[in-house]
Amino acid sequence: MNALSNPLLEVDRLAVEFRTRGGTVRALENVSLALAEGETVGLVGESGSGKSVLSFAAMGIQDAAARITAGAIRFAGQDLLAKKGAAMKALRGREMAMIFQNPRVALNPIRQVGRQIEDVLARHTDLLPAARRARAIECLAEVRIPDPERRYAAYPFELSGGMCQRVMIAIALACKPRLLIADEPTTGLDVTTQAAIMRLVRELSAERRMATLLITHDLGMAREYCDRIAVMHAGHIVEVGPTEALFAAPRHPYTERLIAATPVGAASLAELAAIDGNLPDLRRADLPACRFAERCPRRGAECERPLALAPAGASSATHLIACHRPLTAAATEARHAAFA
């Protein structure tokens, strides 16, 4: 499916449903994505497109109402979905870790931040209390928190949002995981802090050859920090490709609209294009094969047919799209050249 020969994380044709009072929400369908060691992949899309559902499923912390109805998730060759609760929990926080948005509320408000790091260490390592404390302080230093001995005893409310995010990164990286999932890590932070946090994530990922899945709706950020980008729309991955190729010549109409709707691609605000329509209601029984079809200007009769990710062209084995009527590489390249 994916071009990676030996992926660290491999999501294979995953389907996730939520059973709710209002009907079954088909939140993910036929989603495939792979991450290699040391690679940073961006997962972009509108709110509600299923980015977090995918990452929660990978971590095994999905909502109680969620059901994985098809597909597989493999981590370093192990089948995660087959793992029992305890084995999965032993993996979480040690091999794979996650950081979240709004760091100030994502930390326990009434526990010293150092203790929160220690909790993870106590869970996953055999360190004795004194060594744990030393390691927790070391973790704080690693995320460039000044005066870590003193910060150890701080509570989240005493720290700024950026500091809290650093603490969360310290918690996530305390056991030196091989995979980091960063779910909108800069949402809720101010702009200057955002850059500092992203640089920190990039540095630490590079130092440790850690695979990083960056979930964001900020295309500019994805472009700056990711090696590859996967675009999600309404529970489908519609396009995956190397960052530069994807930005230079988006092939899926949705990706193209998404880039056009982002300040990075447009020369002025006036050129920012809105995307028509909303995400389709995922509870509908008659969801079309292509969930973008109803918003798509290029819709045609063939769009009713079943659809899967496939190489965008003979020359690009790493650039995949799910579209019957893709844009031609030449056309989009020409348009984007105009902005550059």
Binding site: I61, R92, G93, Y155, E158
Partner: protein
């Protein structure tokens, strides 16, 4: 920490001032003319006037207030007309009985309500969740005086498991030597297990009656706050870190969920001290509640006012303790203090 506690103590001062003003207003609002009341139906105009001067009723209200506060501080809370004893001494004498009952009732309620609320929150939609909902709705609907009677009927009259619902000890037992005033503790100090058993038997029904009433708000709050905390972002972080479910549940969720429960405890104490009066009447419990009711029936007002004041001061004190406990659990409150 000490400083924070001192600040909280200072924070209670306005409440105490408010309470004293209200009780003062209540004493001056006695039906009719207090002087005429104290002079009795046969009192002549001169006698009434004399009492008026003696009571200080001829002076201005601020002056009266100052002397009222002075009396309170000196421990002169007036005399009970029926027993002839100073009100403060009577109250001090009976307070341990009321406190013992209230605290045991609260303890019972907490021991049942908190696990119930936690279990209900961790298993939404399960039978225990429905049980919790049922208990919380039914519990607040129970008139304490009625449940008390019902329990007495079932466990004393029908089953004979409980002793007759009269007082703190059965008639053949003697009260243990006074140390704390709590018979359960004092009898243990004296090493008198027989008295302990007798006191416990007398205590159990009234304590259950009280517990049944305050169980509901406690369980309801525990469940709601636990549900809220369990869906909080930091619980997701803890789960994503692979922490053990017990760590997530207790160290992360429960300690945070406890904060709103502690706040509710203030309201619970209000209920508890109020229903305490009713339960004392049902079980002929010799506490300050029965004392106040006896005085009310005899139109003896000084003990009633003393009782209201004592209860209010006790309540202020309990709220203060809750505040301190809150500060111990929540570092943010420590800072604000």
């Amino acid at each position: 920490m000490i400083q924070a506690i001192l600040k909280r103590l200072l924070g209670a001062v306005p409440a105490i001032i408010g309470v004293v003003i209200v009780t003062f207003v209540l004493t001056r609002a006695l039906p009719g003319d207090p002087a005429a009341y104290f002079a009795g139906p046969a009192g002549s105009t001169e006698a009434i006037e004399e009492i008026r001067v003696k009571l200080g009723l001829d002076r201005s209200l601020p002056e009266q207030f100052v002397s009222y506060v002075g009396d309170l501080v000196r421990g002169d809370w007036g005399n009970s007309l029926t027993t002839g004893q100073p009100v403060l001494a009577e109250i001090a004498d009976r307070l341990p009985a009321s406190l013992e009952l209230t605290l045991v009732g609260l303890l019972l309620a907490v021991v049942v309500a908190i696990p119930l609320g936690v279990l209900a929150a961790t298993r939404p939609g399960s039978w225990i969740d429905h049980l919790c909902r049922g208990i919380t709705t039914a519990g607040v609907s129970l008139p304490t005086f009625f449940t008390g009677l019902l329990l007495a009927y079932v466990f004393y009259f029908l089953l004979g498991w409980a002793p007759s619902p009269l007082g703190r000890l059965d008639p053949y037992a003697t009260a243990p030597d006074f140390v704390t005033g709590f018979y359960l503790i004092d009898s243990l100090i004296a090493g008198d297990l027989e008295t302990f058993a007798s006191a416990a038997k007398q205590l159990i029904l009234p304590a259950i009656t009280l517990a049944l009433f305050v169980l509901a708000p406690l369980a309801r709050m525990t469940r709601a706050s636990m549900l809220g905390v369990l869906s909080a972002d930091f619980i997701r972080t803890a789960r994503a870190s692979g922490l053990r479910p017990t760590t997530v549940l207790f160290t992360y969720a429960f300690r945070n969920a406890l904060l709103p429960v502690l706040t509710t405890l203030g309201m619970v104490f209000s209920f508890l001290l109020g229903s305490n009066v009713l339960v004392e009447k049902v079980f002929a419990w010799p506490g300050i509640g029965s004392f106040a009711i006896e005085a009310l029936v005899a139109s003896d007002y000084a003990p009633v006012q003393g009782f209201v004041l004592a209860m209010a001061l006790l309540y202020v004190l309990l709220n203060l303790l809750i505040d301190v406990a809150y500060g111990l659990v929540d570092p943010r409150a420590r800072l604000e203090a």
